[in-house]
């Protein structure tokens, strides 16, 4: 775990519900994170009683892979800071759990 590459990221949302907005801070997180892990982090930051599943977008594009795969695909390094948008998941949970 400790040997893993990490990347800086900042979460933001366009959701209007104030209870779904996280503080504007930079996080240093493993690049292996996928949708599920990111959703877990946002829920942790929000401190909600009931878990809300989220989808994630970077530059308007839905994230379907790990952050690492995204960086490689875009020719970016982990030296960058990713602005990650989250929205309430609209896909059925059975489909979500597949990535």
């Amino acid at each position: 775990m400790s040997d893993e590459a990490q990347v800086k990221l900042r979460f933001f949302t366009r959701e209007e519900d104030e209870s779904l907005k996280v503080d504007d801070t930079t996080l240093y997180a493993p690049v292996s994170l996928k949708r599920y892990g990111l959703s877990e982090i946002v829920n942790h930051l929000l401190g909600l009683e009931k878990t809300v599943p989220f989808d994630f977008l970077i530059d308007g594009e839905l994230l379907r892979t790990s952050l690492d795969d995204y960086l490689v695909k875009k020719g970016l390094s982990s030296e960058t800071c990713l602005n990650v948008e989250y929205t309430r998941a609209v896909l059925p949970p059975s489909y979500l759990s597949s990535f």
Binding site: S2, A5, S77, E79
Partner: protein
């Protein structure tokens, strides 16, 4: 560690551009440098009081151990006095290690990094009490100025040629491990009363704090002082002091638990300062070095 002479790589910046950059940085720091140099002189100077020692015919105080032989020798063995002697001049080897990774340019820390190299190297040159090495690090480590080289304005420009802040990794583990090797090698060619100090200048963003911490401890066992200067970019909405670290820690049942904590809480360097502007560096650096030495003295 690859020495420049041994590698065929060309520096990414032309010497003309590097000279201009050095001049520009120099203008920013010229007044700060003599102040820092003075403060460093006070801190780094041998602190132990001069000791009474030796067997002299005249002196400050009698050496009691010599009295009986003195009488027994019918007052011929008359070197019975102690004198105060000056402590030998302590020698320093100081390494400035500068982060050449891309995050430095993304967080707009480049100017501050250049000014810091210029300020610290100028102050140390004015101090005239040691050798200076400059290392750049990222994915790779490269010594761009060696302990056995004289430092001049031209070497400053040559050093700047190697920095373009485009390295796609920040391998602080490798930096500390390689620094220990460089210092070990340099110690072998020097005298006993040698102090080795490494000043790391970086935005402070690095992985694997636990391993780094072990290496920092090893450096300390090798009597290498490590001081980390975090240059906190001009990006006012993004400070390392507000940054959080996402971690997964296994609980009693072996499940991975998500943890979010302050990034600096696990920062592996014990002696670090955060600097936002070059004018803060002399004060901060003196402060942390003083703290370092007072802790060394209390051990």
């Amino acid at each position: 560690v690859v020495k420049i002479e041994e590698s065929s790589l060309l520096p990414p910046r032309s010497i003309d551009e590097a000279r201009k950059l050095w001049k520009k940085s120099e203008m920013k720091i010229v007044e700060l440098a003599s102040g820092l140099s003075e403060q460093l002189r006070l801190i780094l100077e041998p602190t132990q009081a001069t000791k009474l020692r030796g067997d002299y015919k005249t002196g400050k105080r009698l050496n009691m151990k010599r009295i009986i032989p003195y009488i027994a020798s019918q007052f011929r063995k008359d070197k019975i006095w102690l004198r105060r002697t000056k402590p030998s001049k302590r020698q320093y080897q100081i390494m400035i290690a500068v982060d050449d990774s891309k995050s430095m340019s993304e967080s707009k820390s480049v100017d501050l990094a250049f000014q810091s190299i210029c300020l610290v190297s100028k102050a140390l040159t004015q101090l005239e009490s040691g050798d200076l090495s400059i290392v750049k690090f990222g994915e790779t480590i490269r010594e761009v100025h060696h302990f056995d080289q004289q430092f001049s304005t031209e070497s400053g420009a040559k050093i700047f040629q190697w920095f373009d802040f485009q390295e796609t990794k920040t391998d602080v583990k490798k930096l500390v491990a390689e620094s220990i090797k460089i210092f070990d090698f340099a110690r072998a060619t020097s005298n006993n009363d040698l102090w080795q100090l490494e000043i790391i200048i970086s935005d402070g963003v690095c992985e694997d704090h636990e391993t780094i911490q072990r290496l920092v401890r090893r450096a300390r066992e090798n009597k290498i002082m490590l001081v980390f200067v975090i240059v906190d970019g001009i990006n006012s909405n993004e400070s390392i002091m507000d940054m959080s670290q996402v971690k997964y820690v296994s609980d009693q049942t072996g499940n991975m638990q998500l943890k979010v904590e302050k990034y600096l809480d696990t920062f592996p360097f014990e002696f670090y300062v955060v600097v936002h502007d070059i004018s803060e560096l002399p004060e901060m650096l003196s402060l942390i070095l003083r703290q370092y030495f007072s802790e060394l003295a209390s051990v």
